[in-house]
C-alpha cells in the first residue's frame, strides 16, 4: 500500500480582476501513507485550493507535489490521468451524475480501465455492499438522501483502488448524525485498507472524530500543524483556539460570563492520569477557597482522554498565585481567562 503525499513550497495565485489573489502562499506538508490528515480553516483560508493542488485540479503557480515520490507537476497529461486514478476525491455537493443510476455512477471511473463488464459488475457490487447501499444500485441520485449520496460518492471514489482519498468539506452539507456515520465509514476504510485520507473541513468536530494530525490554515498559509490531541490540548494560534472552542459548541464568551472583582475565571486542562484525580476538592480544602464549576468535559481525542473544566475561583490575585503553582505540580494546565 502506498499513498504518501509531500507538498513542497506550494504557491497558488489567481489572476484577479484588479489584484492577484494569493490563495495559497508557500505551504509545505508531509502526509505519510495511511494517515488521516485534516486541514482546517475558515472559508477563504485557501484549504480547498490547497487540496486541489494535490491532484492538480489546480496547478500550483510554483512548488511541487510528490505522490509516492513522483512529482505530479512534471507529468504529461496522459501520465497525470493515470496518476489521478490513484487519488479518489469526494465533495461537499457530492457531484453525482444525475442522469446515471447509482450503479452507473460507481462504474463511471472504471470505463477504459481494461476491466470486462463482468469484472466491473462484480467490483461495483462489492463497493456498494461496502457502503451499505446494495439495494440502491438502480436508483437515481435524486432518489437518495444526502448521506446516501455521499456514500455513493465514496464508493465511486474508491472504484479505481486509490491509495489516497481527498475529502473536500465532505460532511458540511450533512446533518450531525449523518456526518457521524460518514466519518465512521471513512475511519473504517482507513483502518481496513490503510488508505491515506486528507480531510478539508471547517468543522472541528470532524477533525476531532476522525483525524490523526491536522494543519490549521489562515490567509493561505499553514499557521499550526500537529497531532490532533496536541492541537486540542494546547492550541497555539488564535485561529486554532477559536476552532477548538467551536468544537465544544461554545464560544469563550458563553463559557466565561463576567464575574465579581475578587473572583477569577480559570480554564483547566487535564491530560492522561491527571484527568482522574480529585483536583478541585483538593484545592478547595487546601487553599480554603470556593470553586464554582461553570462547565466541563472529558473527551477522547485520537484515543487519548482530554479533560477540560471551566471554573470560577473566589480568590484575588495574591491568593491565586499558590493555587496556580500547585496546579502546575499536578500537571494540570491552568489558564486565567480574566475577571470582572
Amino acid at each position: 500500500m502506498s499513498g504518501s503525499i509531500v507538498l513542497d513550497h506550494i504557491v497558488k495565485t489567481f489572476p484577479g480582476s484588479s489584484d492577484p489573489v494569493h490563495a495559497v502562499r508557500d505551504v509545505s506538508l508531509t502526509i505519510p501513507q495511511g494517515e488521516i490528515f485534516g486541514i482546517v480553516g475558515f472559508s477563504g483560508a485557501g484549504k480547498s485550493t490547497l487540496v486541489r493542488c494535490i491532484n492538480l485540479l489546480e496547478r500550483p503557480t510554483s512548488g511541487h507535489v510528490f505522490i509516492d515520490g513522483t512529482d505530479l507537476t512534471t507529468l504529461s497529461d496522459r501520465e497525470l490521468k493515470r496518476e489521478r486514478r490513484k487519488i479518489g476525491m469526494i465533495f461537499q455537493q457530492f457531484n453525482l451524475f444525475a442522469t446515471r443510476t447509482v450503479f452507473e455512477n460507481v462504474a463511471f471511473p472504471l470505463k477504459h480501465t481494461g476491466l470486462s463488464r463482468g469484472q466491473i459488475r462484480e467490483k461495483v457490487t462489492s463497493l456498494l455492499a461496502y457502503v451499505e447501499l446494495e439495494d440502491k444500485a438502480s436508483a437515481y441520485p435524486s432518489q437518495l438522501s444526502g448521506g446516501q449520496k455521499q456514500r455513493v460518492a465514496i464508493a465511486r471514489a474508491l472504484a479505481t483502488d486509490p491509495a489516497i482519498l481527498l475529502c473536500d468539506e465532505a460532511t458540511s452539507a450533512l446533518d450531525p448524525i449523518t456526518t457521524s456515520s460518514i466519518l465512521r465509514l471513512l475511519k473504517k476504510l482507513n483502518h481496513e485498507t490503510g488508505i491515506t485520507v486528507v480531510v478539508i473541513t471547517h468543522q472541528m468536530q470532524v477533525v476531532k472524530e476522525l483525524c490523526h494530525r491536522v494543519a490549521v490554515m489562515e490567509h493561505g498559509t499553514v499557521v499550526e500543524e500537529g497531532d490532533v490531541f496536541d492541537i486540542f490540548a494546547r492550541p497555539g494560534q488564535a485561529v486554532t483556539r477559536s476552532f477548538v472552542d467551536s468544537a465544544g459548541g461554545e464560544t469563550a464568551e458563553s463559557q466565561f460570563p463576567a464575574c465579581a472583582e475578587n473572583e477569577k475565571l480559570l480554564r483547566l486542562k487535564f491530560f492522561g492520569d491527571s484527568a482522574r484525580e480529585a483536583v478541585i476538592s483538593q484545592i478547595s480544602r487546601r487553599f480554603q477557597v470556593d470553586i464554582v464549576i461553570l462547565s466541563g468535559s472529558i473527551e477522547t481525542i485520537d484515543g487519548r482522554p482530554l479533560g477540560q473544566l471551566n471554573v470560577k475561583v473566589a480568590a484575588d490575585e495574591k491568593k491565586l498565585r499558590p493555587i496556580l503553582e500547585y496546579l502546575r505540580e499536578l500537571k494540570v494546565e491552568a489558564e486565567v481567562m480574566g475577571h470582572a
Binding site: 457531484n95 444525475a98 470505463k111
Partner: protein, 226 residues
C-alpha cells in the same frame, strides 16, 4: 369530409397536390437544414463551452473569434443572408435556387443560434461534475461526451426544439429563391390572390409541424431527466 373541406378550403382543394407539395418542401428543408444545423451548431457550441474562461481547454483567442463570428451571422437578417451567401451556395450546392439553394443559408442562419443554445445548455451542467470527472482521470474527450453531452441532454433537447421551430420560420422565406414551402404557398397563392383559405391552411399545417417538434423535444427532455 370531402364536402366539408371543399366548402371551407375551396382553393386549397382545387389543387390539393400543390398544398401537399409545399408541406413536403417545408419538411425537406427543415430536415436537411436541421440536421446540418444540429451537427455544426453542436460542434461550435462545444468549442465555445470548452474554450471559454475556466473551460476544460480554455483558449481566449479561439473563444473570442468564434464568439464574434457567431454574433455577426446572428445579426444578419435571413433574407439578406440568402443574398450574401449566394456565391458560397452556388459553389457548395451547384445551384443557388430551389430547395438545394436555400439549405446553405438556412444552416448559416440557424447554426450560430443553435451554437448559443448549446453553449447555454452545456454551461448549465454543474462545474462540480466536470471537476469530479477530471479528478477521476477522465480526459477532455471523455468529459465532453460522458459529462457535458450526457448531463446536458435535457437542456440540449429544449434548445434544439427552440432552434428547429425558428428554422421552420426561416423556411417560410425560401420562396425568394424558388424553394417553395408553406410560406411561399401562403403568400404566392393565398395572399396575392386574396384566397384566405390557402393562408389559413398553411397556418394550420405549420402549427401541426411545430407542435410535433415541440412534443418530441419535450419527450426527449423528460426521458433524460431523473
Amino acid at each position: 369530409m370531402h364536402e366539408w373541406l371543399n366548402s371551407w378550403f375551396p382553393y386549397v382543394m382545387k389543387k390539393p397536390e400543390q398544398f401537399l407539395q409545399s408541406i413536403q418542401e417545408t419538411l425537406i428543408m427543415t430536415l436537411w437544414a436541421g440536421s446540418l444545423m444540429f451537427v455544426f451548431g453542436l460542434v461550435l457550441g462545444i468549442i465555445l463551452t470548452i474554450t471559454r474562461e475556466k473551460g476544460i481547454l480554455e483558449n481566449r483567442v479561439v473563444y473570442q473569434v468564434l464568439d464574434k463570428v457567431i454574433n455577426l451571422f446572428r445579426s444578419i437578417p435571413f433574407v439578406i443572408l440568402i443574398a450574401v451567401l449566394m456565391n458560397l451556395t452556388k459553389w457548395v450546392m451547384g445551384t443557388r435556387i430551389g430547395v438545394k439553394g436555400v439549405i446553405v443559408p438556412l444552416v448559416f442562419g440557424s447554426a450560430p443560434f443553435f451554437a448559443r443554445q448549446v453553449e447555454s445548455a452545456l454551461c448549465g451542467v454543474d462545474g462540480g461534475l466536470v471537476e469530479a470527472a477530471k479528478a477521476m482521470g477522465v480526459g477532455p474527450v471523455g468529459i465532453i461526451f460522458r459529462v457535458y453531452l450526457r448531463e446536458g441532454t435535457a437542456a440540449l433537447a429544449r434548445g434544439t426544439t427552440i432552434t428547429v421551430i425558428s428554422l421552420i420560420g426561416l423556411t417560410a422565406m425560401s420562396g425568394y429563391v424558388g424553394a417553395g414551402g408553406l410560406g411561399d404557398y401562403a403568400i404566392t397563392y393565398g395572399y396575392n390572390y386574396n384566397r384566405m383559405d390557402i393562408v389559413w391552411a398553411s397556418v394550420i399545417a405549420i402549427v401541426i409541424i411545430v407542435t410535433v417538434v415541440q412534443a418530441i423535444g419535450a419527450l426527449i427532455a423528460r426521458r433524460s431527466t431523473h
